[in-house]
Symmetry: C3
Subunit: 349 residues, 3 copies
Amino acid sequence: MPKTYTLSQIANELGLSYQGDDITITRVNTLEEAISTELSFLANPKYTAQLSQTKAGAVIIRKEHAHEVKNAIICEEPYYAFAQCMALFSEPEGTFTGVSPFASIDPSAEIGENCTIYPYVYIGANVKLGDNCKLFPGTYIGENCLIGEDCTMYPNSVLMSRTVLGDNCTIQPGAILGTDGYGFVRTPHGIHKIPQIGKVEIGEKVEIGANAAIDRAALSATRVGDGTCIDNLVQIGHNVTIGKDCFIISQVGIAGSATIGDNCTLAGQAGIAGHLNIGNNVTIGPQAGVARDIEANKIVSGSPTTDYSTYMRISALMPKLPDLFKRMSKIEKAFAALDLLESQEKKEK
Amino acid sequence: MPKTYTLSQIANELGLSYQGDDITITRVNTLEEAISTELSFLANPKYTAQLSQTKAGAVIIRKEHAHEVKNAIICEEPYYAFAQCMALFSEPEGTFTGVSPFASIDPSAEIGENCTIYPYVYIGANVKLGDNCKLFPGTYIGENCLIGEDCTMYPNSVLMSRTVLGDNCTIQPGAILGTDGYGFVRTPHGIHKIPQIGKVEIGEKVEIGANAAIDRAALSATRVGDGTCIDNLVQIGHNVTIGKDCFIISQVGIAGSATIGDNCTLAGQAGIAGHLNIGNNVTIGPQAGVARDIEANKIVSGSPTTDYSTYMRISALMPKLPDLFKRMSKIEKAFAALDLLESQEKKEK
Amino acid sequence: MPKTYTLSQIANELGLSYQGDDITITRVNTLEEAISTELSFLANPKYTAQLSQTKAGAVIIRKEHAHEVKNAIICEEPYYAFAQCMALFSEPEGTFTGVSPFASIDPSAEIGENCTIYPYVYIGANVKLGDNCKLFPGTYIGENCLIGEDCTMYPNSVLMSRTVLGDNCTIQPGAILGTDGYGFVRTPHGIHKIPQIGKVEIGEKVEIGANAAIDRAALSATRVGDGTCIDNLVQIGHNVTIGKDCFIISQVGIAGSATIGDNCTLAGQAGIAGHLNIGNNVTIGPQAGVARDIEANKIVSGSPTTDYSTYMRISALMPKLPDLFKRMSKIEKAFAALDLLESQEKKEK
């Protein structure tokens, strides 16, 4: 059953004031799509014109625009307040509770209180699982894993042995943590697999996207810092270290032993070569190819990367490259006609 | 047991005529690899020379080449006819039938007639599953999903809650639909997760490739239109809308809120930035990086994209870029020798 | 319980000599992180300075450096010897043994001796599984698969029907082999799926990475040669043939019907277009886009690819491209000022 709140309840919950009728809100929605029982928001002033069109029952809005609507919640950061409202209306995934008899839990595993363990979950030897964890069907937790409190593993996600998860982590469906790093060498004796005897260590409040892969270290650990959010289909190689509060967007690949600082953003499909150091607060553009270290606070783009403004200039000029070749030929011809180049060449000899 | 047909049976099935002996056909194969009991085809005239070499027992062929072989099925579109023959010889995946007692089906779920539900399938509360669906081991269907008729979910594929599938959809192994969109914002209060309370809506006759990921919307829905075919390891962000009959090739990434028209083709590893509009009938080249809207009927390539012919010219010129720099230096030297540049600079001052 | 060895036992196991005290070794580690009960190694002479700092109990080292440490194992190839030591200290994944009653095994399947089959494994009709195989939870093996000896399938990996695995293969978690190739054609009758009636054939000692996808052939087989190591999230299209001992790094995509020779290295995120031939011993750079055949023994990079040295020169020049445009404008202006271009244009008319 969907939850409903009155406007005053929502304002109260957020510690904000409201104006207009204390109507019942059934859902949150965009200004464009909201109906009369729904709550919307205006954050970006460029959408102000939509206020006159919206059918939303109420709007979260800044003080200066409040007079343009009847029912409203007033605040300084409408987008943030709206995100909080989305949380109010969001339903937790999954209705199953308790520990299924169709799960396989090694007798040596320690399971915290109030955990939800669906059917077809496998928990190996010596695993420690904190309180309030939720393990969906098909999740696998290898031996000696340590999992904090309030973690969720969605369907078919995998922690290979020795993986460590901090509190409040979310592992989206199909994500794989702790699989063997790519450790192979060509030797005079043929290709040789280097056993990957390290592990993966994930901090607190980390989210790992669907079908992402994080390799365990050869030795020591592959590490992801607190608060970092990793999107779907991202590849993180062995012995990589990622700092805190990073955004690693979909399909990024980070090769082995690279180090990423805190507060970095790696846009979609970017690739980072192995053994590089990326400083704090670095932003790396989409599809960028990073082949050398990047200092803190830089914004880079392109493959191989340059600083952002150079990248933008190059991008704007590329379509003019064919013309540049023509311009060059024209100049050369003009020179040739004047014997300028030839006399110059003679001089050089 | 493999199926066999006589040549006349096959011709009959396809509504076409045949010539030569009514031999028994055990399989379909290429001209190069076919043996005397196998049926092959000639579609591309450049392979006509293979007709004299092939050991195929019969060939699907256009009228004008029919005299070059003994046993043949005659038609205007040999490739299409051959594809129909492949269907005749293809075996359905999986031999299990019925509903396994080792599946977990919430009592509130409504299961259509004639469904196949393997062991280790999990079906959540209030799911509606149409007739003739086939759910392989390890599939997970979250609560409130609506699934049409004749859908197949291959092993370990996942529909998170509220996902809607039209009739005749095929979800390849490991594909994840309806996982949380990447909704995080850096705020003065730290990184904040924006609950993703929307869903995924898939039209009819849609195929989703192995280990692909389609995020649920923040609000409203992420949508894929009828007939669209999505390849392996594709990423589709939240609130994306994809039209009908599109080809989205492997490892493509489409960022949040982008809109793709009908009949588009996105080649492998291409990336589409968020909030863009791609018109109908657009073709986007492999590894392309789309950073702005694309009008209908365009063919674009490159990262960032340009129109196709410009891309091809740029690509051809890139290896000559080092030489262009040298040519420029030579011209500059010639100028310098003649004091031309300097006199020009003086003039400008 | 972790394994321990004395230094002499390790030297013995590797057929090498040692010097110093016969201490007990509990683990292997880097020079930087090793403690007094751990064994480390010096392979790259540039780290020689670390020898004076390391707390390692013993070091694997070349003869010429042996005098710089007390306890050592002496050899010609320290890195290779160290890899062998890692194997000595590595624990096999998983502690479960035997065949779980919670696995589903079709009665017609033939299971070799000494196999480990976890709960929630599904084995279809007519599967042949060799001796000493290990199938982790959630693995699916479709009907008619043939699997050699000593193969491991990690959690939630999938072999669709007819897939063939040679001996000693390792399938990492979530990898999908034998899913339908992307066979769709736009026809006057709408989009038509071409049934994929071929299979996947994997040689011996092949490793397939986490969440990788290998499509079955339309006809015939998609093939991966002996010894080839495929990393996470790689896509291999239908009818691709990959030779022996190749390194295919993470997120590479290989389109349908491409052929890759022996001993090739494809770096991360590279893409290979369909129907191409890549010779033996070819190295393809990261994010490269291969649009034409590559001869044996070449090193190529870029998108589209050029030979490596050209790629490096282009990469170095790209940031100077904006300046090149300026230089061109300056020259053109100088010309214009001198009426040189105009007089030249008059001549041309």
